[in-house]
Assembly symmetry: C2
Homo-oligomer: 387 residues x 2
C-alpha cells in the first residue's frame, strides 16, 4: 500500500534550491543518508552517456553511497573531459557541504544536451544547503524537474521498513536497462549485491517497460540506497513492495509524459516467450497511431491489429490473436471484432486506456506503460531550448 503522504525513511533527508540555472523554480537537489548506505544503480545504455553516468558507473561499484546531488536544466552530456571534471567538482562541493567523501556522492544532471555545466553556480548553490535538509521527499523531487508538471515522490511499507522513490520523467523516455532519474531510499538493511538484484528485477518490469516517445535519454539512471535503520528486511517482502512502488511511479511518469492526457497500459498474454511478449507490448504502447487514437477516443481499432502485426520478428499465429480495450472486445480470432462503436468510444475516452492482447501461443506475458500523443508533445518539443 502506498502511503497517503510520502516521507523519507529513517536517516534520509533532502533539500532543494534555485542556484540560478533556471530563471525560476528549483534546479538543485541534495539527498543524504546519516550513515553509509548499501547502494546499487542501473544506467542508460545510450552510447553517448553523460558525464554523470560515466562517473556514476564507477562510483557505484563500491556498493556504498552517502548522498546524491542532482541539477536540472543542463544535462552535462556531450561535454567531454570538461564534463567529467565538472561532475567531479559537483561531488566535491556536495561532499564538502555534507562532510562526506566525494566518492560516496552520486552526481546527476538532467536537461539540455551539449551545454557546459555552469559548475560555479552549482558550487555556490550547494553552500549552506546542509542546514535546510528535511524529510519531505517532494522537496528533493522539485529540484530534479525539467518538463514534469509536478514533483513526484511515493512511499510504501516493506515489512518494518519504508521505501521511498523520487523521480523525474516527461520526455526522451524509452529506458533501456535503466530509466530516467529515479532514486529510491530505504531504511531496510540489505547488502549492495542484494540491492543490485532487487533493483534489476524491479526495473525490468517497470521502468524498462515505460515508453513516452521511444527516445532513450543519455542521462538515465535509477539508484537505490539502503541505510539499515529499520533492521534486516525479508527480501521477498521487500521485492514485492519495491516492484509495486516502481510500477506506481512508472504509471505516474507515463501519465505526466510530455503532452500526455492519459495513461496507456498494454498487457500482453499468451506469448511463447518473454522477449516476444515485451516486444509486442512495447510496439503497441509506442505506436503513434494507437497513441493518437487514445488521445482522440476515435474507435479506429484496426490500428491495434496493425501494431501487433508489425512485430514481424515475433512468432505467432495471427488467427489466435484477441484484443480488448478497457474490457471491450475489438479483435477476435485475428479479425476485427464486430464491436459496438459507442462502447469502444467510451472505453477509449477513459483514463487509463488499458489494451489487453492475447497472443494464444504460450505462457509468457508483459505489460508496457505509456501515454497518449497530443499536440502538447509537439508544442513542448519544437521549441525546447528556446523556452
Amino acid at each position: 500500500m502506498l502511503h497517503e503522504r510520502p516521507r523519507l525513511p529513517v536517516g534520509f533527508r533532502c533539500a532543494s534550491r534555485n542556484c540560478g540555472l533556471k530563471r525560476q523554480g528549483k534546479d538543485l537537489s541534495l539527498f543524504v543518508s546519516d550513515r553509509d548506505a548499501a547502494a546499487a544503480a542501473v544506467f542508460t545504455r545510450n552510447r553517448f552517456p553523460g558525464a554523470p553516468v560515466l562517473r556514476g558507473r564507477a562510483i557505484v561499484r563500491a556498493g556504498v553511497l552517502r548522498a546524491i546531488v542532482v541539477n536540472s536544466k543542463v544535462s552535462n552530456v556531450g561535454t567531454g573531459a570538461r564534463g567529467l571534471e565538472d561532475a567531479d567538482r559537483m561531488a566535491v562541493a556536495a561532499g564538502a557541504e555534507l562532510g562526506v567523501a566525494p566518492e560516496r556522492v552520486l552526481v546527476a544532471s538532467t536537461g539540455v544536451i551539449g551545454v557546459p555545466l555552469p559548475i560555479e553556480k552549482i558550487e555556490a548553490g550547494l553552500r549552506g544547503m546542509a542546514a535546510e535538509l528535511g524529510d519531505d521527499p517532494l522537496t528533493g523531487a522539485e529540484g530534479m524537474m525539467t518538463t514534469d508538471t509536478y514533483a513526484k515522490a511515493m512511499s510504501i511499507d516493506a515489512g518494518a521498513a519504508t521505501i521511498t522513490i523520487v523521480a523525474k520523467g516527461a520526455g526522451m523516455i524509452a529506458p533501456n536497462m535503466a530509466t530516467m532519474l529515479s532514486y529510491m531510499f530505504t531504511d531496510a538493511e540489505l547488502s549492495a549485491s542484494e540491492l543490485d538484484t532487487l533493483l534489476r528485477d524491479a526495473v525490468r518490469d517497470s521502468f524498462n517497460m515505460l515508453s513516452i516517445d521511444t527516445d532513450t535519454s543519455t542521462s538515465d539512471m535509477c539508484a537505490i540506497l539502503a541505510n539499515g535503520h529499520a533492521g534486516r528486511a525479508d527480501p521477498g517482502v521487500f521485492a514485492g513492495a519495491l516492484r509495486a512502488l516502481c510500477v506506481a511511479m512508472v504509471e505516474a511518469l507515463a501519465r505526466d509524459g510530455e503532452g500526455a492526457t492519459k495513461l496507456l497500459r498494454v498487457r500482453v498474454r499468451g506469448a511463447s516467450g518473454d522477449a516476444g511478449a515485451r516486444r509486442v507490448a512495447r510496439a503497441v504502447v509506442d505506436s503513434p497511431l494507437v497513441k493518437t487514437m487514445a488521445h482522440g477516443a476515435d474507435p479506429n481499432v484496426g490500428r491495434i491489429l496493425m501494431a501487433v502485426g508489425k512485430c514481424v520478428d515475433v512468432d505467432f499465429d495471427p488467427v489466435r490473436v484477441h484484443a480488448r480495450i478497457n474490457g471491450v472486445p475489438v479483435v477476435r480470432d485475428g479479425l476485427h471484432a464486430d464491436f459496438d462503436d459507442a462502447a469502444v468510444r467510451a472505453a477509449l475516452a477513459g483514463d487509463p486506456v488499458e489494451i489487453e492482447i492475447e497472443i494464444g501461443d504460450g505462457p509468457a506475458g508483459a505489460t508496457a506503460y505509456g501515454c497518449d500523443l497530443s499536440e502538447g508533445y509537439i508544442t513542448e518539443n519544437a521549441a525546447y531550448t528556446s523556452s
Copy 2:
C-alpha cells in the same frame, strides 16, 4: 531526369472515379496494359496483411499482369473470408470491364482497417470505366489517395523506355520489405524475374528507408509492370532510372507525410556494415525529438547524439562520430560541436533538413527519408475514422 509532366508509358492507360465510398473525391482507380505485362511485386510484412495482399501474393507468382484496380477509404484488412471473397469479386468486376482474366488483375484497397468492403459500390463503379481510360497517370493516382494532400505520379526515361510511378502515402508508413501503395509501369521489355530483382534492389534503398511514423501498414504493396512496347531494356540503365524514380517518389511521399511541413533526409556513412548503417539512419529519422526539432527549427542538436546513441545494438566508437545539419557541423569527435547557434537555426529552418552522420567505423552507408512531426499529425490521427 524526371519528366516535367508525368505520362503513362506506351500501352498503359488509367482512369478513376467516385463510386460512393468517399463522400467526395475519387475513390476507385483502374490501370491497364494493352497486352500482357511481365510483373513483380513486394508486399508488407505486417502479420495482419489485408485480403488484397494475400490475394496479390498468389496472383503475382505467375509473373504476368494486365491490370490493377485500387479503391481508397476502406482497406479490406481484418475482414477474414468475406474480405478474400470481396477482393476476388473486385478482380472479376475489373476483368469483366476490361475483357481480361481476373487472375491477371492485381487488387488493392487502402483506408480504414476492419471495415467490410462495400463491394457492390465498387462493382457498380467499375462498369463503364473502360471508356474513360487515358494516359495521364495523375488521374489514376487520384483514386488511391487517403490523407495525401495531392496526387503523386512521376516519369523518368530509361534508355528508349519510360518508367512511370504512381503512389499514395501519408501515414502508417514504416515499410518493411515493401511500401505503401506504389505502382510502376514501363514499356521496357524485361522478364518477370529481372523485374523482381530490379524492384527489390530499388525498393531496398528507397521505400524501405522511408518512415513517416514507424507504423507499418497492413496494406503496403509495390508492383511493377513491363509491357515491352519500347523493346529490350539495358538492365543497368533501367536499374539506375528505376532507383532515381523511387527515391524521388519517396521524397515526395515523405514531404507529404501526415502533418509534415518538410523533408528529413538522414545520410549515414562510415558504418561497419549495411545493417548498422540502416539502423542508425532509421533511428535518427524516426526520433520524435529530432522530428520536432526540425519542425520548430530549434537548435537542440544534442538530440542527434541521443538518437545515434540509442542504437545500442550497433557497434561503433562514440568518439569517432561526427554530424552536420545541412552542412553545419553539430557533432565533432562524439562531442557536441561548439556551433554557431544562428547558423544551426537557419539550417534547421531549411527544407529539406539533411542530417549527415559519419560513424568512422567502416565503409557502409545508408540514407533514410522522413519528415518533421507537427501538431497536424496529431490532429489528423486523433479523429481519423470520424472525419
